[in-house]
Symmetry: C2
Subunit: 343 residues, 2 copies
């Protein structure tokens, strides 16, 4: 376990090599990819904590066999379990959260997990002197609806007019999470980096993310030989980021000499939903013409007012990160994983 | 107790006369003024529920003697108490909340009260078929910092860059409260109106509101014969609303045929802090020259980027309300009350 010596200058950097990491809510898309990367980069230990409500053993089974990986069944709503799990940890990545679709079904649990859960994680980190917390935030802190257009930078405000309640609750819960980190930094010296992920996709993709559904539901139809569906004219902007780039961003947030900052994490370029449908169709080796359909009013949709992009320039300056995987390569990998694993 | 008859057209209006009202967190500035108004307008019953953590018996003692007024000691964190208290109620006004100063001291309790407390109130209202909930929101849903300039209308976004954590937590908690109401309206048919109050001042003023402190701390100094203090050049904009206008807005929100809407509630015009200091000094009958001081960095200050105003046009259109008391008259009443009561 790495320790600052008493006479060394204060640094906010935490090297991955030989450090111990806890990934809260880690038995999932981002958690499994990050655990894999941290282990590959020489972490002394990676503990995945999950209550397996959304997470699954399946998501981390490719990591079994590495003696440095441990799993703990625990819940972010139980502070004593988090205090026990953070003991001796150098870095904590707090992924446990409900997104808009689940927030819509159960706002009560969503706010509990996203707000109280984050309070508990921060409290546990402070109690045990964890050197750095990486807090996954979201481009949802800029909101949805007609106000969201153009380049979103870290000072852009939160737009909510015209957005569904669950999307606003989710975005506001992430704004609160960031501020709880900032408050703990200012009052208790906790080092943290908040990463505002755009929509994540990739290997071990699940069905819980409203925007990532565009990719996998399209692939589901196309591989059954059905025509893919485009909502409206397909011009709606989406900005994805591949899960391997997110894992690299998480590691970079630990190793960079950065604290008390929130930065955008997004893929190389935004795409339209029509482009996604065409890419998925082409990379599936199919020749199917998309059909244009009206949105299903019973579903939570996250739409903006026009073309927008999540600008990740600041992440380059602050944690030395930039995305490497473009949409074509990322969708190719996702499809290859689904075909290989029967998902 | 007023009831909709089965054959009447669906209305979202709730007359004050002969109706029963619960004011949650009511033993305070706004609660006492609203209770007084509802009783004057013929309410059958007004129940003030408070845990007396911030509220005080002092704040409602001018109402004792009216048999239609009852008080209940209970806590918004205890759902069964709210279910009991909302039973048989026609209208509920949910005032219990922590503001920025208290949020700064204890974010954990602040988020509990403002979010879980609101969830509990909404749940109790739905369980007992309360006809209308009035949810006090805040101009804090537009945030603070350099982004806040010009006319704030109900579609303006939430700015947080440059604002203190507690102010952002408070604003986000109010955004969440509004959306919890909206979600309950859409899924469970709860009628509600959210009122985004600007800074409230007036008789029975307390020391818990960061902006209202400008008035009463100035008055405290002036009546001791000390020079009043202006932070910086005094050009900072504040937009106050007198408590009697807020009480009228609460009543109007019940009686108007409006639901599922959030509207701004503010005084006739914004003022600068220098104008406030001059008004308080003049109306105190003193001739003291203000001294200009630097802000105290240990205090939570709610500042914006320039001149701004909370536009209350929509409140006129939606609930037929407009403010009546200007700053000169409001400060005159506040000072008269402090002199008469020894506060």
């Amino acid at each position: 376990m790495s320790k600052r010596t008493a006479h060394s200058p204060r640094t906010h950097a935490l090297s991955v090599r030989d450090s111990r990491f806890l990934i809260v809510g880690g038995a999932s898309l981002v958690g499994s990819a990050t655990a894999e990367l941290l282990l590959a980069e020489g972490a002394a230990e990676v503990v995945i904590l999950d209550n397996f409500f959304q997470g699954s053993a399946e998501a981390i089974k490719h990591l079994t066999g590495d003696a440095r990986l441990k799993t703990v069944t625990a819940d972010v709503m139980r502070l004593p379990q988090l205090i026990a799990a953070t003991s001796g940890m150098d870095g904590v990545l707090h992924l446990a959260a409900l997104m808009s679709l689940t927030m819509d079904r159960d706002p009560w649990m969503g706010l509990d997990v996203n707000i109280r859960g984050t309070q508990n994680v921060i409290e546990a980190c402070c109690i045990n002197g964890v050197r750095k917390l990486v807090f996954p935030s979201s481009n949802a802190v800029y909101g949805y609806g007609p106000g969201v257009v153009g380049d979103l930078v870290e000072t852009s405000p939160f737009h909510s007019t015209g957005a569904p309640p669950a999307a606003i609750l989710y975005g506001a819960s992430k704004i609160i999470g960031e501020q709880l980190c900032r408050d703990a930094h200012l009052k208790r010296g906790l080092d943290y980096v908040a990463l505002r992920y755009s929509t994540i996709y990739g290997e071990r993709q699940h069905y819980r993310a409203a925007n990532a559904l565009y990719i996998i539901e399209t692939h589901d139809r196309v591989r059954r030989g059905e025509r893919p569906r485009v909502i409206g004219d397909g011009s709606e902007t989406k900005h994805f980021v591949h899960v391997s780039d997110v894992a690299r961003a998480n590691a970079a947030a630990f190793t960079a000499n950065a604290t008390n900052v929130a930065v955008n994490i997004s893929g190389p370029k935004p795409v339209t939903t029509l482009e996604i449908v065409r890419l998925v169709t082409e990379l599936s080796g199919r020749d199917l013409i998309p059909e244009h359909v009206e949105p299903d009013p019973s579903k939570v949709r996250l739409t903006s007012g026009g073309a927008w992009a999540l600008d990740h320039t600041l992440a380059g300056q602050t944690i030395g990160w930039r995305p490497q995987v473009d949409m074509r390569e990322g969708i190719r990998r996702l499809i290859a994983w689904r075909e290989a694993t029967g998902n």
